[in-house]
Symmetry: C2
Subunit: 169 residues, 2 copies
């Protein structure tokens, strides 16, 4: 189910683009610079909004790459506007859109490591279940929470997006 969950991540990144539009609308209606949004935090020692969006993007792209033996595109974490953050979201969505089910054929058994893990590693399946999936939704939801706290007009449907509902038979 790797492929299908990365498709869900891709969908959620698309929802996040709509949140940034709502944040821009809120800033204009309340006469503050839209780029102030990038600095939002719930508490002083929390990573700001821009980092939450960047890490959600990175978790998805690096997860897909690590689980398929590819190299993810690099992003420099230098966005200074909501428009630039939307560009990053769109870029990572497009990158995830290049993946096919067969790219994840050997994902479960891959050895995955990160520089900060000091040589330790996880199996592809453990990495996906214990790291990628909870982290992705953590940073997406934290970004959403920061906007809710600021008063941006968002609701649960903006988080989930359209679900594939079938009509009564």
């Amino acid at each position: 189910m790797y492929f299908e969950l990365f498709q869900q991540f891709q969908k959620t990144l698309g929802q996040m683009e709509t949140w940034l539009h709502a944040a821009e609308t809120h800033a204009k209606a309340n006469n503050y610079p839209p780029s102030d949004t990038l600095e939002l935090r719930l508490i002083a020692d929390q990573l700001p909004f821009a980092r939450q969006v960047q890490i959600a993007c990175d978790t998805a792209k690096m997860g897909a790459a690590a689980l398929s033996g590819k190299t993810a595109p690099v992003h420099d974490d230098n966005e200074t506007s909501l428009e630039q953050l939307r560009g990053r979201l769109a870029n990572v969505r497009a990158y995830l859109g290049t993946y096919r089910r067969e790219d994840f054929a050997g994902a479960t058994e891959r050895k995955v490591s990160q520089a900060r893990w000091e040589g330790k590693w996880m199996t592809g399946q453990d990495y996906f279940l214990q790291h990628v999936t909870p982290n992705f939704f953590f940073h997406a939801t934290t970004a959403y929470a920061l906007l809710r706290h600021k008063g941006v007009a968002l609701g649960k449907k903006d988080y989930l997006g359209e679900r594939t509902m079938r009509l009564p038979e």
Copy 2:
């Protein structure tokens, strides 16, 4: 991967129990009633902390039941203390612990519906990917964000818990 993701949900519910202990410690150190925690919100029209915990529990238990043709245990949403919320988390963790991989054998093709969906339904796979997984992590992370905003001492490792790292070979 249904079974494995429900195991991850079970683990996250266990992490949430540790957050409630941290919330109790914070309340005592700052001289407010621990049960005030249940009313925390980031903004007036948001469901309070207690509901976030209850819905995370319900999303996991109802997801597992719906995808395996079982009936989930009922909880009455009447918790008035952190201790009672921890009891609910422990109860749902134990319930998820009764599941075996084979319970989800037909999950992908099941028809899943909810009373509020007015007869519409989702396939088991769509329900799991588009509803259960994003909703579960949404409510867990929102509960975490509410505690962070209040100043409770929590960090990312308290969200993820211990990951299965392998030693360098």
